[in-house]
Symmetry: C2
Subunit: 423 residues, 2 copies
């Protein structure tokens, strides 16, 4: 394959994570080692910023700032949920694609890296095929990112280990709190965590259990429909034994009809999914009503995916390595792949990166196998525990100022625009 | 005053905090240095455990375990919300008081330390006066504890610095997340924090603001009734300027009629207060309805007061010192006082402990002065910032195992019962 030389463009997409910036750091640091890469640009707010020709020059950032991305949560480049949708909006999608390639061409972008989840890998794949169709030589590699851990083919997703580390630590701390308040009247705390289709985030908190009586005492996931009677019986048993009960609720948990317990059909997100809220609230009310127990709810929301102060060092290292591996693959002439994490061993934990064709990634959702949960469906078994444990190992050192984290901000030196504004 | 020699009893009461165990450590470590103290006992679940003669022997715990209480959140002795209420339940209260003194006498308790907030200081004061009335020689000292920071006379309360440290870090991280998602359609995140009557916890998060555009952009506290129109105008302004807005909502925030925005009159806690939930939810719906903006809510709940993994080292040291000061005061013959924190200087931060008569503490609620907030009532000013900053300084080193905190548990070696069970 002929040597391709040109500029690099990296962008972030979808919901942020604690380590999505570590992947940018990996891209930039590896790009500095590759002679085929000239300028290192980033698109602001994902594909949306590229459409608007809002590019910044990452070579203008200090090396220490780029390194600081490894402990800084959320998307330092900005992100978006914009989708190029040839099915629902074919004309807009065609116009968007034309515009993207105008921008790529105007800035001689030859290496494009899109860091994101399912929808973003789909976008990367479309751009890859479009480049071939248009005869525009460009290497496109997807970098996996999603707290939900629902991308297929990769052992797990960067971002997942950190959200579980935070959530599991929170479960431990809340259990100490609720347990210390437990007197004979009993008390339940329901902790709602993210995960609409896949229950990995909820299930992962099982590692907070070091002993038989430890929390979480029940974990509810979207993959297993909730039998109300069995659920209430289980809660009653736990409270009879321990005087309290801590329940982790995946936001997408479903009732026996397969309906989301929290679905609020009045709010729809930009991908057309209903906005969820209140699974824990609804189940808490049920427990109070049917069992007469006091309940409290916690809804961690965005806090869980942004918790850089307790990120997993393993996760940071993997996220950064995925970024670096993407650049190496592109420099070696590959395109149309997603970087994936391959587990070689759980104990001791050993892993590496590899590539997987984007054609096989898009729109496939990786769910929890049923046999990774107990028969009654209320707790994961050792398969999930063994899978999960290594992913939260290691602490990240975050600099502080005045007792609070001191995260970095990019200078975001703009790249001069060469095109007329987007129509 | 004649030398009093006998056994010590310590107990914890009310809602746990990240540092209430540090006060127990302070009590135990100082007690070890006082010759007048023979046995070091603790009551399980506060006054409730004492009534049930459920005492444990803290001398049986390892020194390392006692030291470990300084980084372990929640109430290691267990806590309760039980109140000896001579107004509402005079007969029960009289029976309880008789029983308490039976237990004190049976175990030769001569030094009693109750760690708690307003209601608990009131209980300590009642026991102090009752001891005098009964001619039972015992020294009673209250140790302040409350995340709400609403105790009078003390500069601030142990527990407060840590909850604000966690909440402020969370605000910073959520702001990075929401800010990085902000595209032209705007987005608001409302973070609900604890504080029913006093807004200190909400207001304290102002220290997350290092620059003019930093979050939180609005802070709503119970002390300042919310003007809906002014609130919506302010949110609109922030979103027009920054494309996003982060709002910290004290759970007890009130509307212009003085009604709690979140009051759910169907649930009442054991002190007869309505259980609150949903101030942020309700305000989020209002913003979506009136301004057409996307909103998300976070409800930190128990997570915020139990977050030992990001406790303030200053807070831990002060909590421990309050426990030690209580023991020194009692050994010196004092009774009927609460230990208080006295600030000598904010920059550099210098403080000491002193005593305040319990008669002047009980049932007085320390609220935020109106002139510590901006005129429009949406952000604290420098008075609050200067007050708050030192209290979150310093990080606590928590041991970990498998990437998660490893908190201590007490052996809880029981003290042999000497009485018949409580009637």
């Amino acid at each position: 394959m002929a040597e391709l030389v040109g500029n690099l463009l990296v962008a972030q997409s979808g919901g942020p994570t604690a380590v999505i910036n570590a992947s940018v750091a990996g891209v930039v640091q590896e790009a500095g080692r590759q002679e085929c890469v000239e300028e290192i640009y980033a698109g602001l707010n994902g594909i949306l910023g590229i459409l608007n020709e809002e590019l910044i020059d990452l070579n203008d950032e200090k090396a220490r700032t780029i390194e600081g991305l490894k402990y800084t949560p959320a998307a330092a480049l900005g992100t978006c949920r914009y989708k190029i949708d040839f099915n629902k909006k074919p004309e807009q999608a065609a116009r968007d694609m034309d515009r993207l390639f105008e921008v790529f061409q105007a800035h001689n972008i030859r290496f494009f890296f899109y860091i994101g989840g399912n929808d973003s890998q789909d976008t990367a794949n479309k751009i890859h095929h479009e480049a071939i169709k248009r005869g525009y030589e460009m290497r496109v590699i997807g970098v996996p990112k999603t707290i939900d851990n629902d991308l297929p083919h990769t052992d797990h997703c960067p971002g997942f280990g950190s959200v579980v580390k935070y959530n599991a630590a929170t479960v431990m701390e809340i259990a100490l709190d609720v347990g210390s308040m437990a007197t004979d009247d009993g008390a339940c705390c329901l902790i709602e965590v993210m995960g609409r289709g896949a229950g990995w985030i909820a299930a992962g908190t099982v590692i907070a259990r070091r002993n038989e009586n430890d929390a979480p005492h029940l974990i509810l996931i979207p993959e297993i429909q909730l039998n109300e009677a069995a659920f209430l019986a289980k809660v009653r048993n736990v409270v009879e034994k321990l005087k309290y009960c801590v329940i982790v609720v995946g936001e997408g948990v479903k009732n026996e009809k397969g309906e989301e317990i929290a679905a609020d059909k009045t709010q729809i997100d930009s991908f057309g999914h209903p906005v969820l809220s209140g699974a824990a609230e609804n189940l808490g009310k049920l427990i109070t009503q049917k069992l007469g127990l006091k309940t409290r709810t916690v809804k961690l929301g965005y806090a869980q995916r942004a918790a850089g102060h307790i990120a997993s060092a393993t996760d940071v290292q993997e996220a950064s390595s995925c970024g670096a591996a993407a650049v190496r693959a592109a420099a070696a002439g590959q395109s149309g792949f997603m970087v994936k994490l391959v587990r070689q061993s759980s104990q001791p934990y050993r892993w590496t990166t590899d590539l997987h064709p984007l054609d096989e990634v898009a729109n496939v959702e990786h769910l929890i196998p049923r046999d990774w949960f107990d028969e009654d469906g209320f707790l994961p078994n050792d398969k999930l525990v063994d899978y999960m444990r290594p992913l939260v190992e290691g602490d990240v050192k975050v600099p502080t100022e005045g007792g609070l984290p001191k995260y970095i901000t990019l200078d975001k030196s703009p790249v001069e625009k060469k095109l007329a504004p987007r129509a």
